[in-house]
């Protein structure tokens, strides 16, 4: 168990913390915008950046005053930090404690081919995988990963994501996994911490975090891009865009001004013009192909902000939507989340 207690550190123009976090033998993903302090947090836990205050303990042992090599915590750097005078194999062997059979690791990470190459000639993704293998070869008591998949291409990332998940679970150590990719975070982690400007905003399981963000920032950061201001109109109605639509009000005070959000994939296109209070008419202002889905931006009649929705290409093809087309969308009551 890795515990951070009011951990603080700072640069000239940046303050991290105080951060309180407990990481059991699980994978905790740290999601956060660029410059939010993710790398700084990992460096502080690893002892590479000195803490200004607070405490780091691993399985009850206080680490705060120890040098990096005595923390039993391995940090995988954002750029790999491979030793340039060694081959990939030598990099891995340097770290290996001898206990883990590294061959399996090398196979999982698809490194067999590049093993005897000088690391300076490796491509970005190859470097990152070598760094990952190297860190795993040490059998650490805790593992800190700084965007370990950032330079990997989609198929290998996809494969690795699942294999890493299995690997991580088998390690039964605390793992902190910094990423800016929500999907990586959702797949690989048990819980996700969202960090912004040096502070932790929310820590939750992926499903919970994606469904029920506690702040607009967390919402937007987890792909909940439709965040709107509204007013509680009734015990089960929300007044928005000139309409009173059904929403899970949960006993909030009537008249209160709130924000609510709904994920773009939970907004559906409906064809029949029912009298459903959650159905709105609008115009497609933008439609973008995204590979496996389409992103639509819809301007409603009485709303200021546009609503974004994601349609599978199957639905999109079926509906034959084009830009400037009129359509009706439905904000499903169950997926409306009031912040």
């Amino acid at each position: 168990m890795l515990e951070l207690t009011t951990l603080r550190t700072s640069y000239d123009a940046f303050d991290l913390g105080p951060i309180d976090l407990t990481v059991e033998n699980e994978v905790l993903a740290v999601l956060g915008p660029s410059g939010s302090g993710k790398t700084t947090l990992l460096s502080t836990i690893a002892g590479i950046v000195d803490a200004d205050g607070g405490m780091v303990t691993l399985n009850g042992t206080e680490l705060t005053e120890r040098p990096p090599e005595d923390r039993d915590v391995v940090l995988v750097f954002q750029d790999g930090a491979l030793f340039p005078h060694m081959t990939a194999r030598e990099n891995i062997n340097y770290a290996a404690t001898g206990a883990t059979p590294i061959d399996a690791l090398i196979e999982t990470l698809e490194l067999t081919e590049v093993l005897d190459r000088n690391v300076e000639t490796l491509s970005g993704g190859e470097r990152q995988r070598v760094a990952l293998a190297r860190s795993l070869a040490t059998e650490p008591g805790a593992l800190l990963l700084d965007e370990p998949l950032a330079n990997l291409d989609a198929p290998i990332r996809h494969r690795l994501r699942h294999e890493l998940r299995d690997l991580f679970v088998s390690l039964t150590i605390p793992i902190v996994y910094v990423t800016h990719n929500q999907r990586d975070a959702a797949v690989v982690s048990d819980r996700i911490a969202v960090i912004h400007d040096g502070d932790v905003h929310q820590v939750d399981t992926p499903t919970e975090l994606f469904a029920h963000p506690e702040t607009p920032l967390v919402a937007s950061f987890t792909g909940n891009v439709n965040v709107f201001r509204a007013r509680i109109a009734d015990h089960d109605r929300l007044e928005w865009s000139g309409r009173r639509m059904c929403a899970p009000i949960d006993g909030r005070d009537v008249g209160q001004s709130v924000q609510f959000c709904i994920r773009p994939e939970h907004v559906s296109v409906v064809q029949s013009s029912t009298n459903n209070p959650n159905v709105f008419a609008g115009t497609v202002t933008k439609s973008v192909f995204q590979g496996s889905s389409y992103n639509l931006t819809v301007q409603l009649k009485h709303a200021t902000d546009p609503v974004r929705l994601t349609l599978s290409s199957r639905t999109y093809d079926r509906l034959e939507l084009a830009e400037q087309e009129q359509l009706r969308i439905k904000l499903n009551t169950n997926y409306i989340h009031i912040i």
């Binding site: 090599e69 923390r71 391995v74 930090a81 030793f83 340097y94 770290a95 650490p140």
Partner: protein
Amino acid sequence: MRQESILSPDWLTVTLVLGGVLVCYYLVPVAALFLSVPLGDVIVQMSDPSVVQVVATSLVGATISTVVATVFGVPLSYWLSREQSRRSSIIVGIVVLPLVLPPIVSGMVLHMVFGPSAPIGRLAAAVGVQTWRSLLGVVLAQTFVASPFVVVTSLAAFSGVDPTLEAASRSLGKGRLTTVYRITLPLAMPGIVAGMALAFARAMGEFGATMIMAYHPETMPVRIWLAFSGRGVDTAFPIAILLVLVSVAVLVVLNTVASNPWT
């Protein structure tokens, strides 16, 4: 703006001309030295046992000085590279002092400290070690004059090693010692070897300080000086050529052992 590279051949020419002038400036006098003496004379010198003795003293002295400079200097420069304070700037200043002193003055001041009338010299003599007019004296003089090269050059080399790599190694559980030994040193090695080469070369050529501190046993520069005062350039130059040949041979070996230390 996008036109300027039309100048680029000119620029290369200027670089090569400037550099070429300098290389010629080094090469021509040395070539003149080699051409001024028939090769036979050099071979004759090489078979003179007293010359062999002198070559041995020079080689042994310069080698020991280089090793001493490395053993003491490399840790110092590592520390200097990682500790960037006022204090370390002052220490760098002290390291440059021996370069500023004319070698003969260096010899005199070393004699003030290690000579027979100095406390340290007397103390050493009391335990049976003579710090002057001995191989030890040669080493003391050469080390004083030549070791700053190791410190200054290694310092630059260590500063060039990315601290992230050290952090990565330590995070992998390797202590400072292992990290320095397996990561920092190998990465700084070209610079360190360059420093050793400079120090060795300077030690081989060192005359002023060695002359004052030792004179006997003779090193090659002292012998060159003696040959010159005794019989003129005809006997001095063959030994100078021998000195160049021996030093270049050692540097080539050093270069080969440490692959390419210059880059």
